[in-house]
Symmetry: D2
């Protein structure tokens, strides 16, 4: 059960945002904004923090680290209050002139929603704390579906997340698959999906993980966990996934095939993608045909951290053969779930009831533009 103080959030809304009742907030006094704590200021956490800070209806009230690191200096440069799990480990931070605002518990006490962006499996250990403190919390895809009993993707099941205490935002790969499958299922019906995920070996800033010169089957067995994970969001879709890891650092590449239920044309499919708020079509005219070129382009466009929040679908790859749709999509492992977390914050807070509205608010605040 979430704490009582959440309930007032749902009563105060009287302003309108695009014809929707919204949370009352004052950008000047910051009263009534959704107070968000980021537990785990790492690859995902630091991005969610910036994305939350960019929203008009949310505020970052604190972020947490376990040890001093480059990211702690980043938090300081952003003026995010820094909290630590074990307050007795304060001195190494202070020795580096990194002021500590308090313990993680103290941070949570002030929050309406905690985004748990700790490493996979740690979220499970944190959940009892959130329960004890009666705070709403989002977990990431590194946790099991069973932890929350509800797995989230903005496009697919936003409404079901409303007012829940605990929500799991599915992983980058699952998010990318859900978006494209849902869009096709709505337009044509999807009878079966087969997808091969060629995953990056490590994030760009990691230096310990490999492989250096290998394709690693992960897992060797078929299907990989991604198919069943998609079904936690879209239970009715038959899907078989195969997954491997390669020596790259930026973006997963999906080779997707879908058997469609109703006749489709390449142009029709492209039109669905063009209208989708979380799908970016990579135009043929750009000459982009790789993750590296795509990253360079997104960087050149001025996206923060070169982040691609959308599915990057290669326009030139979209092919329909005998009602089978084939395509390649690039999924930025560090970024696509960031916008989902922002939407999920709104959903669990219950202040925005319509997915379209939240998605639009999130995208606008981040300055989404078509890739071309």
């Amino acid at each position: 059960m979430a704490r009582k103080r959440h309930t007032y959030l749902m009563k105060v809304g009287t302003h309108k945002y695009n014809d929707q009742l919204l949370l009352c907030y004052s950008p000047v006094t910051d009263r009534c904004m959704i107070k968000v704590a980021i537990n785990g200021y790492g690859t995902i956490g630091k991005r969610v923090a910036d994305a939350v800070a960019a929203q008009k209806d949310m505020k970052v009230i604190g972020v947490s680290k376990t040890r001093p690191s480059a990211e702690a200096f980043v938090a300081k440069s952003r003026n995010f209050p820094l909290y630590i799990a074990d307050i007795s480990k304060k001195s190494p931070f202070e020795a580096l002139k990194l002021p500590i605002s308090g313990s993680v518990e103290e941070m949570i006490k002030q929050a309406d929603v905690v985004v748990d962006a700790t490493p996979g499996g740690v979220g499970e250990k944190n959940k009892p704390l959130y329960e004890k403190m009666g705070v709403k919390a989002l977990f990431q895809g590194g946790e099991e579906h069973e932890l929350t009993g509800f797995s989230f993707c903005s496009d697919c099941n936003y409404r079901e997340a409303i007012d829940r205490q605990f929500v799991r935002v599915v992983s980058c790969n699952t998010t990318g698959l859900c978006r494209v499958i849902k869009s096709m299922d709505t337009a044509y019906g999807v009878k079966r999906v087969r997808a091969v995920m060629v995953r990056r070996g490590s994030d760009p800033g990691e230096v310990k993980r490999g492989p250096i010169d290998a394709v690693v089957l992960d897992p060797i067995t078929i299907p990989s966990h991604h198919g069943p994970d998609v079904q936690t969001v879209l239970p009715h879709i038959p899907i078989v996934t195969m997954a491997m890891v390669v020596p790259t650092t930026f973006m997963h590449m999906h080779a997707v095939q879908m058997e469609l239920a109703r006749p489709a044309t390449r142009e029709g499919v492209l039109e669905v993608f063009r209208r989708h708020p979380r799908i970016g079509l990579i135009g043929k005219g750009t000459g982009i045909g790789s993750t590296a070129e795509l990253k360079e382009y997104v960087m050149d466009l001025g996206r923060p951290r070169s982040d691609l929040w959308e599915n990057g679908i290669f326009e030139g790859s979209v092919t329909v053969i005998d009602n089978d749709l084939y395509l390649f999509q690039a999924i930025h492992q560090e970024a696509d779930v960031v916008v989902e977390n922002v939407d999920a914050i709104r959903a669990v807070s219950g202040v925005v009831k319509e997915p379209d509205v939240s998605i639009r608010m999130t995208n606008e605040a981040l300055g989404f533009k078509p890739l071309r």
Copy 2:
């Protein structure tokens, strides 16, 4: 038209090799062995040369290089006579104490069969020379099917290659696909194949080609050329292929899916693979789940150049779901076509009429053993 002197090859056979009439030869005098010239002593050429030298019914009469290089020293260490295209460029070789036996034309004059292992597209330029000199020649998969009008895979169409003057041995990826598709088509019937090929960026000894940190769609469009290329060998198989390139140097990885016509079980499929002379099942007990571990294992087993001539199918990946077969196979880009070239030499020479016999001869001479 091949030269007259080939015709005697088919007449002299009187010895028996496993119940088949074979070419008469004398290992002492080397009379009547098939005389093979390797035009292009590079990645493929040097392997074919060693494999030919290991056969009892063949002999390497010369290899060619265009420039001095490490490989020229290797040819010398093997005592392969070295020929060069442009005899006026002899002196840089001689300055390095690399003796030149003559021009490529002189080499071809002595050959029964030329294995053209020059870079893609060069074979086409060489063909008129082979025609002029009336010699049989094998081309590699880097050439177009149209160059010979016949594309070869030992398992699939050996008999059709008998006595042809020109044969194209299909590329490593196409060979790997043909082997596994043909085996399943014979056993169960194949209704449709979908395969994603995750290709190595460069061979291990190359240092100029990338990518370094990217997944490159090659091509962006779907299908890749591999599907149609399989159909040059197996025209009746509907197949769609998607291809990308990653920063690895050893082996392509195929994620293969086949709709089977008749009911199949995982154990049944594995049994077909176990009996196949060019498929190597990588046992689960080895713990091998990557190209790098597979290479290490093949190296440890003492294979020359760590070469995997077979399809490396991961036992643990072989899965049957609703009559759909899924599997991962590793294809060693430098090696799988080597044994195909050896068989094709026999086929065009016409001395061995049965594929099974040639495949067994080739395998035995190279010391094939099950991977586990």
Copy 3:
């Protein structure tokens, strides 16, 4: 000879910028700003364009491309007028809704200074055009020193560049070496430098260049060209360099050793580096010990394109043993010359006579901050 119209630039200055006479300009009418054309809008050109656009005394009047590409869309997103070398090749651009403002000659006609950021060796071919049109031009380090007879590094020889028509901005590696050597030479005297440069194989957005899994000596011989190249800027410094290439995409790593003429301490050396406007000390407290972690940090700090314009010297590596200084420095191959180009524009324009002033103006406009 530079055109007449440059001369007025030097007369109009009446305003003061930090106690220096400066060019008069109006941000509203853009009269009197230095008009800069970027010939070659690629890796370096696009960065120089953005850096120029950020300066108060300069304006980008156009950029050039030879073919439509992702970068052409980027130029459009920046509202930089796009010019092409061969105006007859206009239609592929227009087909992609990329408007062309004219030919490269027309672009140059409007420019005070051309920054030639074409690939290595192309600058040499362009020089006659610049001569014909009487325009000042900067070339990059991919060109030979002899092309201009003058090689530039802001710290070392800014004053000598004043009013020159042609200046070569030295390469990223040479720039990085010159900065650190000059700083130590000024403080302690440098008797001898030995440096090993471990270079990135390709830029992040390139996918064709390798190596994938190799250390490549480039060149095999010693010294590499970098030592002599440093001497084009600092002729009196004895220096021997060794260079290799590795499979990374971001930043070169230099292992530098200098014999100092006068007694030095680690703390003294660090103090010199801390005061240097183009040296960034990477603090031990950040835990950063690799190019990847450094890039992540620079990205997190919000630098455009994660650009590190400074030498990234690892504080923890700075060591003095028997008057020998040892250190590691990371050099961002895409970025460190960008700020040098901006300074060189001012120098050849003659509007800012003091290096310190130009360096400060450049840095402030880009928002330089200490790394920690």
Copy 4:
């Protein structure tokens, strides 16, 4: 104290090997051969096992594994008796038809010398067992010098190892440095060494370790541990080393600089290298200028596992400037210590008193040939 049974080894020798008294042995009955156990059949252990098996005066009496793996199948294919530390974990081996000969203790009981090739730090834990069982043992460079108080390099201090119970064979990098430094110290006197080691990130068969796209300083501080480690073998040599790790799998690359005490010429230095039994000069004529090309060449020459047991010094890089010697050398991390272990087995057994003799025996048994 080593067991008594070692003492007879030193009495039985009556045969001569190249004018040296040697151990009596019978290849038929294997009486009196040095009985070697390999504790840890991994990257180094499996190579030492094969090298020992190739020697006329040694025999592999067993190898050990902790878990079933591909290498266990390799041991079986070599007919090496397989032992396991914890005999209660026998059944997973037997389930895979990998017969277990007994416990590690039982293996050691039969051995004259144990080569401990376990991962770094495990050797230290094993030493008490070797002490208890009174067996001679070699440790690898992953252990501390203090573990044995004696660090070994055949060229440098073979005689001091004679009859010792415990010897540490220094690491691949230290071995490579010791060889080249000692050779120059003998010929010219070495006043100071500065070396930069660019290390491979993982071995070719590893898939978990990175980095993927980074140069990692390891350590950030200067000097790295390699300099002091060289001094455990050559205490009088002043040496400063700097070390980093890059995303490659095959061979470290050393950029070495030495101040020589006496006048030297390039040709003189090359002559010293040509005569050295453990230095391989990579001729300019081969065109080899990278680790990848070197590996390909060594593979093509038919070396087992493409192993380069020698220092691979690039002939073209050897340069003398003002009595400073500069060169690049490639050090195969998996191989160079293998031959040192074989020599160390002879030294501790006391049966061969002269390093030259042991080195020659080792090299001849492995079929060393000049690289060109």
